[in-house]
Symmetry: C5
Subunit: 275 residues, 5 copies
């Protein structure tokens, strides 16, 4: 029985990361009441976005020059994300924000083991891979999985102090090529990779979102922890597993402190915002 090639995925929240630089000199030069009005409007906006029926929004103060502020929006659809994007763009505060980068993705669970299991069952039932019958039966089985993992597909955003975001892809080199590697070997590497993550389970919450077809890398990774050194240790340890050592390619890293919507005012006043 030939193995399948493409692991099935389940998708949840549509996700938009927005990184902004705050033009501090312009902000500080603005009139006091204009600043107060802009801050109050922005706080109210963040509170509404966070408490939305349609998803969640988190905010973080970033370290370094790649941005001062990161907004992480999870919504039920790209349409809702566009609505959020338009809302933020029209804030009075937006006059002082410069978008430095962004990331569009969808929360994703990669299902290597489930794919292998379903494949075995369906071919045992005599279904031909890539036939409409096979595809339909496969989709039906996957749809059944969806509720079982709903809380992982549409998670709440963890209320942990430190946040780390980075995009990544699997290497398609001339010699080391993830997409030309057999399914079973990839499944094995992903299992090993996942085992490291599980050893850090209490210390870090990880949200993986897929962005193939949506943005320039293949996946986005968000990590949430109470101790930022956990980011360093986890990512360093993973760098030695075969999936990452041989096949991981990483984009820019963003690290910051998550804060509560109402703490945006403190941040805009130059104080470290509380969570």
């Amino acid at each position: 029985m030939p193995h399948p090639t493409v692991p099935a995925t389940l998708e949840g929240w549509s996700v938009l990361h927005q990184m902004f630089r705050l033009d501090w000199p312009a902000w500080l030069a603005a009139a006091g009441d204009a600043r107060q009005a802009a801050a109050e409007e922005a706080v109210a906006c963040l509170q509404a976005l966070k408490a939305s029926n349609d998803g969640h929004t988190a905010a973080a103060a970033l370290l370094g020059h790649k941005g001062d502020l990161m907004l992480l929006h999870c919504r039920r659809s790209l349409e809702s994300l566009l609505e959020v994007q338009l809302t933020v763009a029209r804030l009075q505060l937006a006059r002082f924000l410069v978008a430095t980068t962004s990331y569009v993705s969808v929360v994703e669970l990669g299902m290597y083991e489930m794919t292998a299991k379903l494949h075995e069952q369906l071919t045992a039932r005599g279904l031909e891979p890539e036939s409409p019958e096979y595809d339909q039966a496969f989709a039906a089985e996957m749809a059944e999985q969806q509720p079982r993992v709903a809380s992982r597909l549409m998670p709440e955003l963890p209320r942990r102090r430190y946040v780390c975001f980075y995009p990544m892809s699997k290497r398609r080199g001339e010699h080391k090529n993830w997409y030309a590697t057999p399914f079973t070997r990839r499944a094995m590497m992903m299992r090993e990779h996942g085992a490291i993550g599980r050893r850090y389970a209490g210390q870090v919450v990880q949200i993986i979102s897929g962005s193939i077809g949506f943005d320039d890398w293949e996946w986005g990774v968000d990590l949430f922890a109470d101790d930022p050194l956990v980011f360093k240790r986890l990512v360093y340890e993973m760098r030695f597993d075969e999936a990452s050592a041989d096949y991981g390619e990483f984009g820019a890293f963003y690290v910051g402190l998550q804060f509560a919507p109402e703490e945006l005012s403190a941040f805009l006043d130059g104080r470290v915002p509380g969570l």
Copy 2:
């Protein structure tokens, strides 16, 4: 009989993608009547461009910082595209638009199988490849194909909610080199690649345009669908086929929501524009 090297292509619309960031703060700071005049002029322009005898234009609201607005223009010639480009550049709205990128290409059908068939016929007639007689006979045969595939060369732009655009090239690595791969092998890989596309036929409409000699990548790909997850699944599945896994190189991905010309006003007012 030696195989040909270069697959013939048929060409249709000349295509210009324009991506713009909207300077929201400047837009919101503009006087109400200036905004209304600019919006009305831009809507009328989009309507005229869409209904042109000479081609089609579609508009989409993009997600993320790489652009707020994408215009996709199809015309009969580069000259017409230049005319469109000049028209857009002179809109009142253009004062608030910053071009972030663009793409120049020509709708293209790659004809691997037809090339092989014609080659066989012409050499059977005793014509010498690369001789003027062969070239002329080949061109005549291709010209006959043109009307048969006219609707694919000069297609209407699908009225589907979601749009995805990305440029790509075939790898010319030191070991994996598409252009040094035998014709029959490339033809086989393209057939496999096309088969995946056909399985998604109902869910997605794909327009391929060639840009060798016109822009920085070799092809542009536009996908249109009612469900954006289809983009992710299609591109992910294709990433495992040999043509993509070993030879595909991909540029930036742009994803957005197509909207009707008259809905540009809603967008400029900060509302999600309808299709």
Copy 3:
């Protein structure tokens, strides 16, 4: 008899490509008489530059965001090019132009076959390669060639509607390295490469300029044609020859419509300028 390594070249015009974005909003916002004065001065300048005793200048309207305007200046010396550059920089129109890129090079004929022939003759005369006598005799022979190919070294710029420019280099990879490939093999590949060009002779005029030591790529290529699809077909077909498939590296492509100096006014008024 060992073969030489370095093919001789003959050089003609010094060349400067200038790509400019036109700041349309600022241009449109300028007072009518300021625009008229700027346009008239720029037209007169282009006319003078085109009719120069010291060389030629062509202008093209570019498609896409990489520039609105390309000026291609050919002059007898870098000193003359600097003079042109300073003249353009001081135009009233320059207030509305933003230089997006440029390219500095010298029209060049690569002489693989002549080099081999002269090498054979000189070594037959007992001259030692790389000796002063050999170098001097070689230079003298090349100097004799110069008048024979003067019209190709200092060509007039073809009055064809479409223009394509791109820079390129020969790959110096770890495995595929043009500069580590034997002379005879390179000569053979260049001959094959040239043969494709000759098949397109009637349809396209090509000007090659060398930029090693002058700019960031090794050569610049200008193509002129009445049908822009010829650019696509020629460059695509060449991509399969060994010199390009294995050793060609290509920079950005610029495509546009050449226009007559006096048509700059039409362009600045938002109309497609005539040739």
Copy 4:
């Protein structure tokens, strides 16, 4: 006994490098009293940051266009670094500063030898690698090391005239891959690498900080010396050791002159600031 894969690390100061360009024309155009007030405030700020209970700050005047000013902040936590970042952003001087780049990291000691030793002891005690018991025992042993190397984890910043900063990563190539190299071999290479550093001990002070999970490269390197040629010699010599020759990848290099907080005034007046 299988060797471990991941070398343990000990972490100290959280570190933020900030590189700024000074907008000299704007600065010189500002009113004299505004400049004096801004300079005095900035000097006082640097003095307070340098004398902080919570860490150290150093300032340097950079050579070249990549920045005029580098601030190097060491603090006990990312939270403190954010506080510093906000303080600097709100200086009056910040109106004239443009952040060109930055770097976020944590002072780190890589413990290859200690890791091997502990691994041997713990497995000798019958503990299973990657078991909770092993992890806990290992962490306890490492915690004991912390005070012993506290002065290297939370060093004072050396009062030497010349400073050099650059980020680096270990190569993960398709053939040469640090993370796929056996532990003992990496340990051996790091020992050799360290030996070169020790030969330069009197001439240069080196602070290594890790940034995996925090910033775009894996490590940041700061060098301090009284003679800048030492930077050149040390980095050149190291480039030949196996760890660097085969596995080192280097980012941008920044070189400058460290100066005392109160000397910022001289710098802002256009004079070389003293240490």
Copy 5:
């Protein structure tokens, strides 16, 4: 006797290249007397910098968009370079200059043959490589060389019309790695490389400066000639020698016309400045 690994170097001038774009529209819009004052101050500054006891400064008008003006400063120390940098930054003319790039380096002579010779002598005296005694004896011998090559370490800047600057590094590829190549082989390649240079001795003056630890590439190369085609021929011919073909990596190329300090006025008036 094992060969040494690291070739010794001798160092001379500290070097700063500054490339500036001139904001021509702003310059032309400035009041006549402000321009005259700025030009006179800048000329006087260039004259003083050129005639400095502490080093030399040369100026060149660049071709293309990468810069209008290049200043090349040679000084006895980085401290003096910083002083020069501050002086230029505070010119009235600096309001119209935008730094596009820069390069920090130190004039360097690589001493492959001397290193081999000294190594042989010292080991013959029984000194152990990398021992303090060896290092000290080696340094003493090198110090003796310094006066002998002083004029090459602290050269005057040649008064030739054309200038070419580019940075370069030696490749550290996965297969072709300069730093993993045996000393004797590198020495042999450098000898061959130098032989080409010597054949151009009368036509071009070359100044090599090292920038490992100082800037982003490993070396900077300045060429001075009366005929700019010499740059093209020399760099092209060298590209075929093994050191360059297999191991050379090149950054951006800058080419321009050197001019005398007092000719800056002509340049600012839009005329080609004389030497």
